[in-house]
């Protein structure tokens, strides 16, 4: 699994990193984002919704996103 370490980075940087990484993720695979900015828990699922990817789960500072299409 690809893990993006965005700890200590302020939003929107974790979402930018995720967007840049997603073309390198195989369709159906999961990318894990580590982010402790308080906006990440809201903005990573919102990004998934806007971009048509699947938000798998979020626990604490860990967010899993599955690439769709």
């Amino acid at each position: 699994m690809i893990t993006l370490d965005c700890l200590g980075q302020r939003c929107p940087l974790p979402v930018i990193k995720l967007a840049k990484a997603i073309p390198g993720v195989p369709v159906g695979a999961v990318v894990r984002v580590l982010a402790d900015d308080p906006a990440a828990a809201n903005d990573i699922p919102a990004w998934c919704r806007m971009k048509g990817h699947e938000f798998v789960a979020g626990h604490g500072h860990q967010f899993d996103v599955r690439r769709v299409g």
Binding site: R10, C11, P12, V15, I16, A19, K20, D37, P38, A39, N42, D43, P45, A46, W47, R49, M50
Partner: protein, 381 residues
């Protein structure tokens, strides 16, 4: 990034939801009552009686517009203090019923802070920012509810709340409802069925520092502050009478134009909603597209730092606000955007007022896409 704002261009103020520019009628009334209304209205000599007359006249004007009795209405030092007094005094008056405050997830932060002084039951909203009425009905009919609090329309995203329906559910449960009407008084008709209501002159073109609190007859309200020897709810100390007189004058002026202004500003907001969606890629227009405040529109731009966008717009002369975490003192995203589950970064709130012209909106729409593109380019996108 583009640092070449045009300093010669006229600044364009688009943040009426924070503070509407002072209405010219309010300026005149303020100056007149600084001369005429400075005395203590509770004194018995001629200057005091004159001040008392002005205070009663201002109270009467605002009460008539809100459709309440003059003795149900008091002026407070701000909309925030009026809202807090409504919540704290409403809770205290219902101690015997319980100590739970039911509130929507998108209340003003002053109400949320007041909620932390007691038990609170939060009711969510949907993606468009509309109250979940089923959950509201369940929450207000639970045991131990002292008070319910609902904002009339979101100051952050403009979604108008179903106050009449929420009030009916409160009435069925025997729970008094407080409505924070800061964004709607002076713009749209006052809803029905509530027990307490607050408003803010700053939002309708009055001066800052005038809040309004209405406590309907028969509603138990106990002051959260040590009281004067007066029978009505009121803040401590002398009122800022010139500001109150100006606030009442401004309200009378804006209410007479409210319908026409709602149509005019609503069309400009439609234009912003359509053009931003068409000219800015990866943007989310936030809030209810239909049941919304006529003068306010909010959108979030993916991959954009809200603070950077605010500063870039400021350099071009545009004053707007943002619910992004980087622009807040707490460094947390707006609780309203979080409750809706919409993108919180790159967030911009534009709110129009009586001086806003189509040319202002066109200038904003011409500048915005380039600024967003510059910030994204800097981020390597």
């Amino acid at each position: 990034m583009d640092y070449t704002g045009d300093p010669a261009a006229e600044p364009i103020y688009l943040d009426a939801a924070s503070a509407a520019p002072l209405h010219p009628v309010a300026r005149e009334a303020l100056l007149a009552s600084l001369t005429d209304g400075w005395a203590d209205p509770s004194r018995l000599y001629a200057a005091g009686r004159r001040a008392q007359q002005l205070h009663e006249a201002a109270t009467g004007v605002v009460a008539e517009i809100l459709g309440v009795r003059a003795d149900e209405l008091t002026f407070w030092p701000s909309g925030t203090s009026a809202a807090q007094a409504a919540v704290l005094g409403g809770l205290a008056g219902r101690q015997r019923a319980g100590r739970t405050l039911v509130h929507s997830a998108i209340e003003h932060s002053a109400v949320l802070h007041a909620a932390r002084t007691t038990e609170a039951a939060e009711v969510g909203v949907d993606r468009l920012g509309r109250l979940d009425l089923d959950a509201w009905g369940r929450a207000v009919s639970a045991p131990g509810v002292a008070l319910a609090s609902l904002i009339s329309a979101s100051h952050e995203v403009g979604t108008v709340q179903p106050v009449d329906a929420a009030a009916e559910l409160c009435a069925e449960a025997g729970v008094p409802l407080f409505v924070d009407a800061a964004q709607t008084v002076g713009r749209s008709p006052v809803p029905q069925g509530w027990s307490l209501l607050s408003a803010s002159a700053h939002k309708w073109g009055g001066p800052p520092g005038v809040g309004v609190l209405v406590v309907r007859k028969g509603v138990r309200w106990i002051s959260p502050l040590p009281q004067d020897d007066l029978y009505r709810p009121r803040p401590a100390g002398a009122p800022d009478l010139p500001a109150i007189v100006a606030a009442a004058a401004a309200l009378r002026a804006v209410v007479s134009q409210a319908q026409a202004e709602a149509v005019r500003l609503g069309a400009l907001v439609d234009r912003i909603r359509d053009r931003v969606a068409a000219t800015v890629p990866d943007v989310e227009i936030v809030g209810d597209p239909v049941r919304r405040l006529p003068h306010l529109v909010t959108f979030s731009c993916l991959y954009v730092d809200g603070e950077a966008l605010l500063h870039a717009l400021d350099r071009h002369g545009f004053a707007v606000s943002s619910g992004s975490s980087c622009t807040s003192s707490t460094l947390r995203p707006s609780h309203v955007l979080e409750a809706m589950g919409v993108l919180s970064h790159g967030n911009v709130r534009v709110s129009l007022h009586r001086d806003t012209t189509p040319e202002h909106v066109e200038r904003f729409l011409a500048v915005l896409p380039g600024l967003v593109a510059d910030i994204r380019k800097e981020a390597g996108l």
